[in-house]
């Protein structure tokens, strides 16, 4: 089995850590070099990237659509805000982040248990309702959660060891805002490593199997409910963590920050990058963070006034989104991978044992046209009993 060897050899953990190390070094260098405004943008990209990564796992790997992931970000953000409000002394940062993750996971567990029984449009509707309801709660419990005004968030002081380390590495004393940007990128990289681990483990394989064929997955011994709920909790936890960072970056947690637009933005990032791809989620988050500014810039260069050029951004979003769905439905990363696979297949002898009939690897081709299924006893892929008995 020569084809198997190289894949068996490399440990996924080492590979992920290596990529993370390189990514971390680049992020550190970039965050140190840019000005405060850009650092703030990069921090926003990081928290969007974290939430999008969690969503891509749920939607891309497990096939559950969530239109309401902004709600979990809100839950994480409000949890963090309650910890980082006026109470003295502020809780340690790790505690704040863990608490936000834990609370979001708990809510995710409840929602996930309901979601595991819902499909397609029903699931979309339920998560949509969540996205609308959660910010509403903040207004209803205005006394604790600050109502429309929201809660202001005090950005924590960087710990001394961190300031020392950063000074040692970059000869600059980090501002609080800068510190949050570093923190966000650190968390982003940790989250990506953990999600990549999961995706390549038994857990990720289980998610994919459930996504592709429920009955076959069950017959292999996989509990559909369990797989779906675990995916939902992981995804909600990730979004909660992203929300906590968002609260620190924005320094305010208010209902207006968690409108439906946020949930749809996350979904856009995931679709743009390619469903199920962590790299794609990151690219999507980058596009959504930086595209508006670039477009607005182009708008003013073209002689539009400020309002007009600001309105250009959503328009370009929409157009880009439609183009991606039409031309590259697998998203940016998925399309690139498709090209690579096709090039490799076209290169021929790289995969020697594949018979010629199987060579044209068009993934949409249903089967070998030279031999359709037995004409006298056709198979029924959509036979009613294939999905029989689901309560």
């Amino acid at each position: 089995m020569p084809a198997l060897r190289p894949r068996l050899g490399s440990s996924p953990l080492l590979r992920h850590l290596l990529v993370a190390l390189v990514g971390g070094a680049v992020a550190l260098a970039v965050l140190t070099a840019v000005d405060d405004f850009r650092a703030g943008q990069l921090a926003a990209m990081a928290y969007l990237g974290i939430a999008a990564a969690g969503l891509t796992v749920l939607t891309g790997l497990n096939g559950q659509l969530s239109l309401g992931h902004g709600a979990f970000m809100a839950i994480g953000a409000y949890t963090a805000a309650l910890f980082l409000g006026d109470v003295e002394p502020a809780a340690p940062l790790a505690v704040v982040l863990l608490a936000a993750t834990a609370v979001a996971s708990l809510v995710g567990l409840v929602v996930g248990l309901a979601a595991a029984r819902l499909h397609g449009p029903y699931l979309a509707g339920a998560t949509l309702a969540l996205a609308v309801a959660v910010p509403g709660l903040a207004i209803y419990f205005g006394d604790t959660l600050g109502g429309e005004q929201g809660l202001s968030v005090r950005v924590p002081e960087p710990p001394a060891w961190f300031a020392d380390l950063l000074f040692f590495l970059t000869a600059v004393d980090p501002s609080r805002g800068r510190f949050v940007a570093y923190l966000s990128w650190f968390v982003l990289i940790v989250v990506l490593v953990l999600l990549a681990n999961l995706s390549q483990s038994r857990v990720g394989r289980t998610w994919r199997a459930v996504r592709d064929h429920e009955v076959a997955a069950e017959l292999a011994g996989i509990s559909l409910t369990r797989a779906r709920v675990v995916a939902f909790v992981v995804s909600a936890a990730t979004a909660g963590l992203a929300g906590a960072l968002m609260a620190m970056v924005v320094r305010l947690t208010a209902p207006s920050g968690f409108t439906l637009t946020l949930s749809l933005t996350l979904l856009t990032a995931v679709v743009l990058g390619g469903l199920g791809s962590l790299a794609g989620a990151l690219i999507g988050a980058a596009l959504l963070t930086f595209l508006p500014q670039v477009v607005t810039g182009i708008g003013s260069d073209l002689g539009l006034d400020d309002v007009q050029s600001a309105e250009l951004a959503p328009l370009v979003y929409g157009v880009v989104m439609i183009l991606v769905i039409l031309l590259a439905p697998a998203g940016l990363v998925g399309t690139l991978q498709g090209w690579r696979l096709r090039r490799r297949a076209a290169a021929g002898p790289a995969a020697p044992a594949v018979p010629a009939t199987a060579r044209p690897s068009d993934p949409t081709r249903p089967s070998d046209p030279t031999r359709p299924s037995d004409p006298t006893h056709p198979t029924h892929p959509t036979h009613p009993t294939d999905k029989a008995g689901r309560a």
Partner: protein
Amino acid sequence: MTTPSPLPSAAPAARGGPAAGAPAGGAAGTAELFALRDVTVTFGGLTALDGVGLSVAPGQVLGVIGPNGAGKTTLFNVACGLVRPDGGALAWQGREVRRLRPHDLAGMGIGRTLQGLGLFDRMTVLDNVVVGADRHARAGFLSGLLALPRSSREERALRERAMAVLDELGVAAHAHRYPPSLPYAVRKQVALARALVAEPELLLLDEPASGLSDEEMAALGDRIRALSDRMAVMLVEHHMDLVMSVCDQVVVLDFGRVIARGTPAEVRDEPAVLAAYLGAED
């Protein structure tokens, strides 16, 4: 189950006589691996199964035949917990199974291939088969999240195991491809590999020969006979040549009722069977 023995060929005790596998409870004396008793299923007004009873012994190949719509797939669905019967009982190794959930099946030692393919189309062939081996996986959430050595080691063992089964079925060369890009016959083998890698004690095959050429069907027949050395097989099939050459016993269904049972030769000559088939094919 820690040794990554590729196939259950390393399970010699499986059929060392009637008493080897099953505990001596239940039906006295008869070596009965799996049984349905008096099972009835209705869909709305339609009675898909009507008081059906049958049993499989270890190492036996039991054919279930009947015209289209006779209830064969429904029978398998009951056996798998996918359809809850309105009446009747199931017994596994002499013990009654009360609330059978589909995902408990693999752990009990029952494997099944679906009518059609039922492959995971966006996963590689190898991953498809590794999912089938999930029964033998132990790694939990945390070891996956942290990619602990335990998890990676198990993944490697499962892949080797899956690879060995693909190899045995002659489709190892396609391990890293995606099912939709493969010929139908190869995909059928992948579906079989996914069921076999779990090393079931009972294998339910729903129309495994559909879409196969004559040579492929002959090879499948040999394969099923060989499998019966290490597991019992229940076979739903329309190809009579295959059924007659492979099965030890045959049960004939028509309109949800058992209309005949016996050895292939006995069943073939039953007037009721001829009538059912003639009636169905006008």
